[in-house]
C-alpha cells in the first residue's frame, strides 16, 4: 500500500514537472498567460506530491516494512526510531528522493513569492527549476526507486538473492516477513552520529538553493530581460544557499573529526572537494554580483559564474554517485552515472551557449565601463580571479590530473593533502589580504596614497597582533605570514565596524553599543558581511594553528602508565572491554586521564566500537577529546592486547595535540550569525530617514 502510494506520487509529480516545463516554455513564447499560469500550478503541485512520497517512505521506515528494499537496506528491528527518520537520506534512493523534496520546496517558494514582482522572468524560472526536478524524479522513478520491493518469482533458485522490483512481477509472492526482519542490514554505523545526520541535509539545501539563482539567470537570458532584476530576485536565495553549503562543509569536517578517527577534519578527498567547488564559485559570485548591482558591470562574467556554480553542483552530485574517481565517500558503483553525466553535460552546454548567444547579440553590455586600477571594482575582480583559480586548481587536483594521467599516461596517480596545501595556500593567502584591503578601497578610483592612509592603522594593529602571536610561540615564517594575513582581514572588519559606530556616535550622540546596533540595523548587508569576514578569519586562525602546529605520537601503554606529551601528562588508567550499548554494538573503552602541571583536567574515553550485525564497515574508532580554546587533546584507541599469564595487557594509542582547532567551529558560528544579519530584511530607507530626522530635532529641542 505504502509502496504503491509512494510510486504513484512520484509518477504524478514527474508528470506535473514535465507538463510545467512544456506549458511554461510554450506560454512564454506565445505570450499565453493561461498556459503560463497553468505551468506555474503544475510546478507548485510537485511539492505536495513529493511530500506525499516522502511521508510514505518515512512511514515505511517507521512501521518497519522490510519488504521495501530501501527500508531493509538502511534499518533493522533494533534501529532506534530517531535513526529510522534520518535513514530517509541514509542511502542512494532515499537521498535522491530527499533531494527532489528540497528542490520542489525551493521551487514552490520561488514560484509563490516572486510571481508578481518578476512576472516576465517567471515562466522560464519555472521551466528551468522543473527541468532539474524532472531529471531527479526520473532517476528516482525509473532507476533508483526507493519503493522497490523484494518479490520471489517462480523461477528463482532457493538460495539466490531475491531481487527488488518497482512493479510487481507476475506470479510473485512476498518473502517471509520474519526472515526479512532478521536479515535487515541496519543503518551504517558511520551514519549514527549527529554531524553525519545533519551534514547531508545541509549540503542538499545548499546545492538545491543554488538552482534558483541559476534558473533566474537562465530565464534572464532566455526571456531577454538581462537587467539587474534576476540578481535582485535571487540575492537572498544565493545567501541562503551559501549559508547552508558553508554549514554542510563545516559539519562534514566536524563529523570527520569526531567519528572517522584520523585526527583531522578535511582530507582533500575528491568527493569532499566536489562539494567545495560550488562553494568557491558561489562565493566569487556573491561578491561580483555586487558590482553588477552597483555599477552594472561584469554582466557576462556573473552569468558565467552562476552557470558554473550550478554546473559544479550537478557535477558534485554526479561525481559522488557515479564512482568517477575513487573516494571514501563513494556510493557503490551505480548505474545512474551515465544519466547524471548527460544531464550535467546538457545543462552546462545549453547554459554556456545561451550566454555566448546573448553576448554576441550585444545584450550583455556593461552600463559603466570605468574603474581605476586601484578601486573596489578592480579588487573585486582580483577576488574573483582568486576564487576561480582556486576552483580550477582543486578541480584539477581532484579530477583533472588523475583522470588525464590514467587515460593518457596509463598511470594512476593520487593527489593528496601535500599537493593541495602546496597549491592552494598561496591563493588563500592573497584572498585574506584582499579581505583586508577591499573594504578600505573606494568605488571608482582611488590613489595609492589614499589607500595607504586608510590601511595605516589596520596594518599597525596587525603588526601588534603579530608580535603577540610571535610571543605566544609561532616562530616559522610561513605561520607568521599566514597569521598576519588572516589577522589583517579580521582587524579591518573590526576596524570598519568600529569606525562606523564612532561616526554614528559623533553624529547622533548614541552610546557606543547603541551606535553599533544602529549601524547594523541600517546597513545589514555591509556589516553582516564584516561579521562573515570575521568568521572566515577565525576559521583561518584555527586552520593555520591545527595544520602547522599539530603534534602527534603513537605509544603502547600498560594500565597505569603515563606519557608526557605536549606539556600534558596522559595516564592510561584502565580498559573497559566488551561493554554493550543499547543498539547492540560492543564497545572497548579506554580511560585516559589528562593532567597538566599536576592539575587534573579531564578523563577521556576513547573507544573502539564493533557492530556485529552490520555489513561492510562494522568497526569505528571514536576519539576522546579534551577541548579548550587553546587546543584539543585528542586520543584514539588503535588497538589493545589482553595479555596472557606472563605479559601485561597493553593498549596502543594515538595522541594528537591540535592547537586552536576549536576556532574552526566557533568561526563557523560567527559566519552563520553574519550571514543571517546580511539576509535580514531591512526597513524601508525613506521612513527610516524621516524618523531619524525627527529624533534629532526632538533631541536638539530638549
Amino acid at each position: 500500500m505504502i509502496a504503491e502510494i509512494g510510486t504513484a506520487a512520484l509518477a504524478l509529480s514527474l508528470a506535473a514537472a514535465i507538463y510545467s516545463i512544456i506549458a511554461s516554455v510554450i506560454g512564454a513564447r506565445e505570450r499565453d498567460s493561461r498556459l503560463i499560469d497553468s505551468g506555474r500550478m503544475a510546478g507548485l503541485l510537485t511539492f505536495p506530491l513529493i511530500s506525499v512520497a516522502s511521508v510514505a517512505l518515512l512511514a515505511a521506515l517507521l512501521t518497519q516494512q522490510y519488504q521495501i528494499a530501501y527500508v531493509w537496506t538502511v534499518s533493522a528491528p533494533d534501529t532506534p526510531d530517531f535513526f529510522r527518520i534520518t535513514a530517509l537520506w541514509g542511502s542512494q534512493q532515499g537521498s535522491l528522493l530527499f533531494w527532489s523534496l528540497l528542490m520542489s520546496l525551493f521551487a514552490f517558494v520561488a514560484l509563490w513569492t516572486h510571481w508578481r514582482a518578476y512576472r516576465p522572468l517567471m515562466p522560464y524560472v519555472t521551466a528551468f527549476t522543473m527541468a532539474t526536478l524532472a531529471f531527479f524524479l526520473a532517476i528516482s522513478l525509473f532507476m533508483e526507486n526507493p519503493f522497490a520491493r523484494f518479490w520471489i518469482t517462480p523461477g528463482l533458485a532457493p538460495d539466490a538473492g531475491v531481487p527488488s522490483y518497482t512493479l510487481i512481477p507476475p506470479d510473485a509472492t512476498a518473502p517471509d516477513a520474519l526472515l526479512l526482519a532478521q536479515t535487515a542490514r541496519g543503518l551504517n554505523p558511520l551514519l549514527r552520529h549527529f554531524g553525519m545526520i545533519i551534514h547531508p541535509p545541509m549540503l542538499y539545501l545548499g546545492f538545491v538553493g543554488f538552482t534558483i539563482p541559476f534558473a533566474f539567470a537562465m530565464s534572464a537570458l532566455a526571456s531577454g530581460d538581462v537587467s539587474v532584476n534576476w540578481i535582485k530576485a535571487t540575492r537572498r536565495w544565493t545567501l541562503i544557499a551559501w549559508l547552508f553549503l558553508s554549514l554542510g562543509l563545516i559539519l562534514g569536517g566536524r563529523w570527520a573529526y569526531d567519528v572517522l578517527g584520523w585526527g583531522g577534519y578535511w582530507g582533500w578527498d575528491p568527493v569532499e572537494n566536489a562539494a567545495l567547488l560550488p562553494w568557491l564559485i558561489g562565493t566569487g559570485f556573491l561578491h561580483s554580483v555586487m558590482i553588477q548591482e552597483k555599477r552594472g558591470m561584469l554582466k557576462v562574467w556573473n552569468m558565467f559564474l552562476v552557470v558554473f556554480t550550478f554546473s559544479a553542483v550537478i557535477f558534485g552530485t554526479f561525481a559522488t554517485r557515479s564512482g568517477l574517481v575513487e573516494s571514501v565517500h563513494s556510493f557503490a558503483q551505480s548505474e545512474i552515472g551515465i544519466p547524471m553525466f548527460l544531464f550535467w553535460a546538457a545543462m552546462t552546454l545549453i547554459a554556456v551557449y545561451l550566454i555566448l548567444l546573448r553576448w554576441r547579440q550585444g545584450v550583455l553590455k556593461d552600463e559603466h565601463a570605468f574603474a581605476g586600477i586601484l578601486s573596489r571594482e578592480s579588487l573585486f575582480v582580483l577576488n574573483n580571479v582568486i576564487f576561480v583559480a582556486l576552483t580550477l586548481a582543486i578541480f584539477w587536483g581532484s579530477f583533472g590530473a588523475p583522470i588525464l594521467s590514467e587515460l593518457f599516461a596509463g598511470t594512476e596517480i593520487t593527489l593528496g593533502a601535500e599537493y593541495f596545501n602546496l597549491v592552494t595556500a598561496p591563493l588563500f593567502l592573497v584572498l585574506y589580504l584582499l579581505m583586508g584591503i577591499a573594504p578600505l578601497a573606494a568605488w571608482g578610483a582611488m590613489s595609492f596614497g589614499r589607500l595607504g592612509r586608510s590601511l595605516l592603522r589596520p596594518l599597525i594593529g596587525t603588526g601588534v597582533a603579530l608580535v603577540v602571536v610571535y610571543l605566544l610561540g609561532a616562530r616559522s615564517l610561513g605561520a607568521l605570514v599566514g597569521y598576519g594575513a588572516v589577522l589583517f582581514a579580521a582587524i579591518v572588519a573590526l576596524w570598519e565596524i568600529g569606525r562606523g559606530a564612532v561616526a554614528r556616535r559623533t553624529a547622533t550622540g548614541d552610546s557606543l553599543v547603541m551606535a553599533v546596533i544602529h549601524i547594523f540595523g541600517r546597513n545589514r548587508r555591509r556589516y553582516g558581511g564584516f561579521i562573515v569576514h570575521l568568521g572566515i578569519s577565525v576559521i583561518g586562525i584555527g586552520v593555520i594553528g591545527s595544520t602547522l602546529y599539530q603534534q602527534e605520537t603513537q605509544r603502547t601503554l600498560r594500565p597505569g602508565e603515563s606519557l608526557e606529551f605536549g606539556g600534558y601528562t596522559l595516564t592510561y588508567e584502565r580498559m573497559l572491554s566488551g561493554q554493550i550499548a543499547d543498539d547492540g554494538r560492543i564497545m572497548d573503552i579506554a580511560e585516559m586521564r589528562v593532567a597538566r602541571g599536576g592539575a587534573d583536567l579531564a578523563l577521556l574515553r576513547p573507544r573502539y566500537d564493533f557492530y556485529p550485525e552490520a555489513q561492510g564497515m562494522n568497526t569505528q574508532i571514536i576519539a576522546g577529546a579534551y577541548s579548550t580554546l587553546e587546543n584539543d587533546v585528542y586520543v584514539l584507541l588503535s588497538g589493545f592486547e589482553n595479555g596472557d599469564g606472563t605479559t601485561a595487557p597493553t593498549a596502543t594509542f594515538k595522541f594528537y595535540i591540535n592547537p586552536l582547532i576549536n576556532l574552526v567551529w566557533y568561526g563557523g558560528i560567527v559566519l552563520i550569525v553574519g550571514t543571517l544579519i546580511s539576509m535580514a530584511p531591512g526597513a524601508q530607507p525613506a521612513t527610516r530617514r524621516v524618523r531619524a530626522d525627527a529624533d534629532t530635532r526632538v533631541g536638539a529641542a530638549a
Partner: protein
C-alpha cells in the same frame, strides 16, 4: 524596470564585435565534458566476463615468467588474491585441492594461476607456503594486470578461461569449488 521582450532585444542591441573567440569557451567546456565522459565510460566497464582474456606477462614469486597466451590449449583458472584478504584465505585450500585433483585426472589440461593484487611479495610468499599452493603465483604489485586489464573491484575474483583463450566464467568473491568444478568439467569434455 522596463521589460525587454525578445524582439526588443534584437532591435536595440548592437552586436558585439570580435567575439569569435568567445565560442572558444564553448569548445573548451565541451572538451572538458568529453574527457570526463570518456573517464566515466572507462570506469563503468566491468570485469571482462566474455571475449578474449587480456594477455599479460608477469614474473612469478619463484622467478619464472608466466605469459597467459602461452597457455593456449589449456584451460586456465585465473585467481586474483592478496595475503591480507580473509576470503582469499578461505578459498585457498579448495583451489589447491582442485588444482591437484585435475593434475591427476587430466594432467596438463587445467592450469591454475594466482595473481596477487597490490601485495607485498614476502607476504604473498608466506601465504603460499602456509596453504601449500603448488601452482604459479605472480605478484602484481602495480595492479597493472588486476586493475587495468581485468578491472577487478576487489579480491578474490576468479576468471575461467577456455583453451582458446576466451573468458567463459567469472566468480566474484570466494570461489565455491563445486561450482568451479561444474564449470570446468564441461570444457574438458567438449575438448576431448
Amino acid at each position: 524596470m522596463a521589460v525587454m521582450t525578445e524582439s526588443d532585444v534584437q532591435k536595440t542591441a548592437a552586436p558585439a564585435r570580435g567575439l569569435g573567440g568567445a565560442w572558444a569557451i564553448l569548445l573548451l567546456v565541451g572538451v572538458v565534458i568529453a574527457v570526463i565522459g570518456l573517464a566515466l565510460l572507462r570506469n563503468q566497464q566491468g570485469q571482462p566476463t566474455d571475449g578474449t582474456a587480456p594477455d599479460f606477462t608477469l614474473t612469478g614469486l619463484d622467478g619464472t615468467p608466466f605469459r597467459l597466451s602461452e597457455q593456449r590449449g589449456r584451460i586456465v583458472v585465473l585467481n586474483f588474491w592478496a595475503s591480507w584478504c580473509a576470503p582469499c584465505a578461505d578459498e585457498a585450500p579448495a583451489l589447491q585441492a582442485l588444482s591437484a585433483r585435475y593434475a591427476v585426472s587430466h594432467p596438463g589440461r587445467v592450469q591454475f594461476v594466482g595473481v596477487t593484487h597490490s601485495d607485498e611479495p614476502d607476504d604473498s610468499a608466506a601465504f603460499v607456503a602456509r596453504y601449500g599452493i603448488t601452482y604459479p603465483n605472480l605478484p602484481d604489485t602495480r595492479a597493472d594486470v588486476s586493475k587495468r586489464l581485468y578491472r577487478i573491484t576487489g579480491v578474490p575474483e576468479t576468471f575461467l578461461i577456455d583453451a582458446e583463450g576466451q573468458v567463459v566464467g567469472f566468480f566474484y568473491s570466494a570461489v565455491d569449488p563445486v561450482a568451479l568444478a561444474a564449470a570446468i568439467d564441461p570444457l574438458l569434455a567438449a575438448a576431448s
